[in-house]
Every structure is written in structure tokens, then in C-alpha cells.
Amino acid sequence: MDRYLHAHEAPWPMTVRLFVLMVVAAFSGWLLDRGEFFTRLVHFDALPGLAPAHEAAHAPAYLTWYVTAAVFFAIYLAYRLYGGSNFREAESIKRRCAPVFNLLERRYYLDEFFLALVGLSDQAARLAFWIDSEVVDRFFVDGWGLLMLALARLCHLFDDSIIDRSVDATGGLSVSLGGTLRWIVRRGLVQEYLLWSAAVMSVLTLLTLPAQRYCLGASVGLGLLAILTLLLVRRPR
């Protein structure tokens, strides 16, 4: 790679191509000047409000001389600077005008600018993708999914521990109640309790409705009937 950092002669394939291009360029220049060929090729109608195209297309005559002089001066300058074997004068100018030389040699730092821009874009791209995968997708989307999962588990826990156990407990209670009732009925206690209830109800009726005499007799009758039944029911035991 080192050889590319120093001035060197072009390889022959490049020289041949340049030579061909030089001949073609010279020939084209000569050809385009014949019979106003170039003028006809690049002739455009003038836009409204502007000077006619053929007037605007002609450069002033002195410009040709200035350009020619500039070309010869450039050739002379190039010979002065790089004509010998050591480029003392060129090196001296390079040292004295180092900032300008660097600016020109690095092509106004445009490459560095674009590389920095690419680097910056890469960083922005990495940041955008990180946000997309770690924040938007993982946090919001997958996070939402996890939240739903947690909620689902909570619902399951509630369903399993509270609702289902309540149902089971109700069932269990029913079974226990049934068992108790069965035990009571089998022991004949239920009739006894019912009769006691009837007796109590009779007494209460008696106490709460004293004014209605006709109820009194009925209540007392009911009470007596209850006590009598109780005694009869209890007898087999």
C-alpha cells in the first residue's frame, strides 16, 4: 500500500488509455468547431425574458486568451515546482502553507465528514434498534404480555383459592349439614325440635296477641297440643 502514498509513474495500461483519450479529445475539439457543430448540438431556445440563446452562448473573446495564458502559466509553475529531482521549492511552499496544503490534500476533509456521518448514522441506527427491541418490543409488547400473564395467574389464584374453595366449602357445608340433619332425623331429634319450636311459637303468639281472645284459645290449644305431642314422641326413647 505504501507505494500509493508517493508520486509514481502511471502504469502502461493507464498511459495507453490516457493517450487514446487525448487523441479523441483533440479530434473532438477540432470536429465540434467545424460548421458550428457544437453550437447546433447545445443550442437551446432562450427562456422568455432572457437574451436569445445564441447571444448568451458566446463567451467574450478575451476569455480565450486569459484561459490560454492561465494554462501556460500553470505548466510553467508545475515545471518550476516539480521539474527537478528534488522538489525543494514545492516542499518549502508545502511547509509554509501547511494548513492550506492539508485542506487541499484531504479534499476539504469531505471524506472525514462523510465517514463521521456514517458513524453517526450507525450509532443512531443501533440506538433505534435497541429502543425497538428492548423498549418497544420487550418492555411494552412483551411486558404487556407478561403483565397479562401475571394477571391471568392472579385470576387463576383467585379462582382456585377463593371462588373454587368457596364452592367446595359450600359443598362441604351442604354435606356436613346433610350429615348433621341425617343424624338428627335418625336420632328423632328433629321432631322434638320442631315441637319445641311450635310450643315456643304458641307462647309467643299468646303473649303478643292478648287482646284477641279468640286467638288465645287457639294458641293455648296449640301449645298444649305441642307439649302433648312432645311427650308422646319422647316416650319411645
Binding site: S121, A125, L127, A128, D132, S133
Partner: protein, 486 residues
């Protein structure tokens, strides 16, 4: 049977035939699938010559009562908005089936689900009854779930569930919106054409709420930021042909829904949402492109570039101009063609190299020049190089949006630059430089792959050089749509 019913249900007939074939007859299954899809494509293409380009009204209309008690109809029709998408769906489905001929696992089921998917996609674009639209919309979910979940990559189950849940969540909101407009309309109807005329009686508050419900359904499908994260995963895990259909057609259903349902039916809601829509469009464009740039997996890169490209559609719509709408619609078609091509090409290299890592390659242009040429063409078309299809539609989107949204449009240009950067870098890393000796035995495209790619390549160049035929198809509808907001 009317032509639209024939186009929509021919793949279903093919699917039923496939179902009746023994699973060992793989060749017969492939032939039946290709024939039914090919015939659908021929009929769809035939409509091109019968389609009246001078009217914005619905054409080839079919209307039969379906559930009369609640006013549901079997109501089909196409206009300049839906017909190009029908054509695209038929073409992409056929191309994808050609690209699927190398499937060896559970061939019968694969082709069956693929044809069902085609029915769903076509149905969405031709339905003019909201219930029918919703039914077809949901029909697409089931085949996609199985196609990703069975024939996908290593994380296929996760990708399939994520895709399904994401889309279904959006669909539920859409269903709410459909029910709301049904009960709000007087007399109650699901007829889209009637509902498009009913909005003057609806309050702004109602329209905004229902717009949001519909938008959630469509935004997931587009996919619009921040409902896009299912897409890269689904693409990466899906088999090649499914990725092609997913990017080329299914995403268009979202944009189509916004243009067909939300825009015309809920103009006040649309107007209220417009500033948000343009911001979402810009985020899609810039953020999608940046995310694509960060990828080293080619398929994931193309997937993220789809998010970026769908942003152009949203930007075009937000412009509310004839140019913007034309751009959005043409972008749907062009993106379908170009991304279809890109996914097939990524699939080609994955089939041979079993990797999609950009950094794993190098110098492939010398080994597979035809492949390199087509991939470069697809990349150039995708980044919007003049002369190729992508440029025309992107330009129209920008032109259409610029009058109303100057700053946002200017910011969106960053997306174009970034797109160019990541595609050119991919070309450089994969095709240029010295050939990585690991890929010394890599072979170029075979006949099946060329057959699948050829129509997409031709159309990409054709629409890039001469987009007039496609724009003419849409023009009358677009002019009518733009006039609604004047």
C-alpha cells in the same frame, strides 16, 4: 357465477381439491395449487381489459342477502383502489406458490393453507359489507398462524402466536367499530357504501372514537409505529414464500382499510387524527430505516425496510391530495413487487448458505453474477433509484404531502438517505470485495427461482419507466377520494 366471486373462490376450490388428494401425491398437490392460483391470476388480469378507468364507482358488483335478519350481505365490488390490490394479490400468490415448490415438509397442508390465505386476502379487497370484510380479514389470520407456526424457523411458535395475538387484538377493536357504526346507522346496516354516506349524521366525538377503534385494527396490519414489533419476528421466522405474501399483500390490507373504511366513513375522525398520522408516518420512515440499518440479518433488514416503506404510504395519505393518494396506492403496488423480490432473493441465498448474516458473505458477485444483479436491482428499486418502480411512488408521496406538511416531508427524506445507506452497504458486504472461499461452491439462480422472480423484475422496471397504466387504473377513484376533503 360473477367474475369477482370466481376470482375470490377459485383458490378455495383449489384448496378443497388439494384436501381431497392423497398426501403422498406431492406433485399433484403442487399442480392443483398452481393451476387454481394461476387461473385466479389470469382472471384478475383479464379484468384489466374490462375495468372502466373513467368512473370512481364500484364495478363488477355482486349483492346477495346473506343474513337478512341483521342486514348482512354478500356484497362484492372493485374500484380503482381495490382492483390494483386484487391484481397484486393474485400475482404475488402465484409467484409465492412457484417459490414454494421446494417445500418438502407436509406439502399438502402447506399448499392448502396457502390457498386459503389467498381467498382471505382477495376477499378483503373485494368486500363491500363490513361483516364480510371482517370475516375475510380474520380468515387470513388462521393460515398465517399455521404457515409460520409449522413451516417457520427456530422461534416459529413464538412468532406465530405473537402475530396472531397482535392482529387479533387490533381486529377486536375493529369489530367494536363495526358494531358501533351498525347501531349508529339508521336503518342499521353493514353496507359500506351506505355507511360512507352516513357520516354527516354522526357527531365528531363518535367519529373520533370509532376512527381510533378502526385505526387500531388497521395500524397493527400496516404496521404503524408502535404496533410494528410483530413484523420483524414474523418475517424472520416465516418461510420465504410466506414472508413474500406477508410483506407484499398482508401489510397492504392495513393501508387499504385506512383508505377504504376510516377515511371515507369517518372524515371528522380522520381530520382529528391527521397530525398524529403524519407524525407516525415520519417515525415509520426514519425509525424503520434506522432499525433496518442496524441489522446484520438480511431478512430482518428487509422486514424493517418494509416498515419504512409503509411509512411512505401513510405520508402520501396524510397529504390529502390526488398526488399523495396516487403515491400511496402506487407505493403499495411497488412495495409489493420490490419487497416480494427481495424476500425471494434472501430466501435463495438462505437455502444455499443456511445463513443470512451480511458479514458472513463477500465477493459473491463473481460467483453468482445473475443473483447479484437481480439483488442489486431490487435494492436499487427499494431505495428509490430513478428508472425503477420505487422512485415514482416515493416521489408522488413526497410531492403529495409536501404542500400540507413541509417540515415533516423534509424530515422524511432522512429515511431515503438511510435506506440508500443500508442497501448499498449490504451490496458492498455481500457481493463486492474478495470472494469468501467458504462460498466457493455457491450456485446461481435455478429455473424455478428465475420463474418466480421474472414477473416481479419486469414489472419493477416497467412501472419505473412507464407508470401510467397503473396510475390510470387508480386515477378516477383517487380524484373522487381527494375531493371529499375539499
Amino acid at each position: 357465477m360473477n367474475i369477482l366471486s370466481l376470482i375470490t373462490f377459485l383458490p378455495l376450490a383449489g384448496a378443497l381439491l388439494v384436501l381431497g388428494l392423497p398426501k403422498e401425491s406431492k406433485r399433484a398437490v403442487q399442480v392443483v395449487a398452481l393451476l387454481s392460483s394461476g387461473l385466479t391470476l389470469v382472471l384478475s388480469a383479464g379484468l384489466y381489459f374490462l375495468f372502466d378507468r373513467h368512473t370512481s364507482g364500484m364495478q363488477f358488483v355482486e349483492r346477495v342477502p346473506w343474513i337478512p335478519s341483521i342486514g348482512v350481505q354478500y356484497f362484492l365490488g372493485v374500484d380503482g383502489l381495490s382492483y390494483p390490490l386484487v391484481l397484486l394479490t393474485a400475482l404475488i400468490s402465484f409467484v409465492s406458490l412457484v417459490a414454494s415448490l421446494n417445500i418438502v415438509k407436509r406439502v399438502k397442508e402447506y399448499f392448502f393453507w396457502f390457498l386459503i390465505l389467498e381467498v382471505g386476502m382477495l376477499g378483503v379487497f373485494v368486500s363491500l359489507d363490513l361483516v364480510l370484510f371482517y370475516v375475510f380479514w380474520e380468515i387470513t389470520l388462521v393460515p398465517m398462524y399455521f404457515l409460520i407456526g409449522i413451516w417457520g424457523g427456530p422461534k416459529k411458535e413464538y412468532a406465530a402466536i405473537k402475530f396472531f395475538l397482535y392482529t387479533l387484538t387490533g381486529s377486536v377493536f375493529m369489530l367494536l367499530g363495526i358494531l358501533a357504526v351498525y347501531f349508529k346507522s339508521d336503518p342499521h346496516t353493514f353496507d359500506l357504501l351506505v355507511l360512507l354516506q352516513a357520516h354527516p349524521d354522526w357527531s365528531a366525538r363518535f367519529q373520533i372514537l370509532i376512527f381510533l377503534a378502526f385505526y387500531l385494527g388497521f395500524a397493527v396490519k400496516v404496521p404503524a409505529f408502535p404496533f410494528h414489533t410483530w413484523l420483524p419476528l414474523a418475517h424472520v421466522e416465516a418461510p420465504t414464500a410466506v414472508s413474500v405474501v406477508l410483506a407484499a399483500v398482508l401489510l397492504k390490507m392495513g393501508v387499504y382499510g385506512i383508505m377504504r373504511v376510516s377515511y371515507g366513513m369517518l372524515p371528522l375522525g380522520f381530520q382529528w387524527f391527521l397530525p398524529f398520522l403524519v407524525i407516525i408516518a415520519v417515525i415509520n420512515i426514519v425509525y424503520g430505516a434506522l432499525c433496518a440499518m442496524a441489522q446484520t440479518d438480511m431478512k430482518k433488514m428487509v422486514a424493517y425496510s418494509s416498515i419504512n416503506h409503509m411509512g411512505y404510504c401513510l405520508l402520501g395519505i396524510a397529504g390529502l391530495t390526488v398526488t399523495g393518494f396516487s403515491g400511496a396506492m402506487l407505493q403499495m403496488i411497488n412495495h409489493g413487487l420490490i419487497t416480494g423480490m427481495l424476500f425471494i432473493l434472501v430466501g435463495v441465498i438462505y437455502d444455499r448458505a443456511h445463513t443470512r448474516d451480511i458479514n458472513a458473505f463477500g465477493g459473491l458477485a463473481a460467483k453468482v453474477p445473475f443473483y447479484a444483479g437481480l439483488m442489486s436491482l431490487a435494492c436499487f428499486a427499494s431505495l428509490g433509484l430513478p428508472g425503477l418502480a420505487g422512485f415514482v411512488s416515493e416521489l408522488l408521496c413526497f410531492l403529495g404531502a409536501f404542500a400540507r406538511w413541509k417540515v415533516y416531508t423534509a424530515v422524511s427524506v432522512i429515511g431515503i438517505l438511510t435506506t440508500a445507506a443500508f442497501f448499498l452497504r449490504m451490496i458492498e458486504k455481500v457481493f463486492l470485495g474478495p470472494l469468501n472461499p467458504k462460498w466457493d461452491k455457491l450456485t446461481d439462480l435455478d429455473a424455478r427461482e428465475v420463474c418466480a422472480l421474472l414477473p416481479l423484475v419486469v414489472l419493477t422496471i416497467l412501472l419505473g419507466v412507464y407508470p401510467k397504466p397503473a396510475l390510470d387504473l387508480m386515477n378516477a377513484t383517487v380524484v373522487h377520494m381527494a375531493s371529499l376533503f375539499k
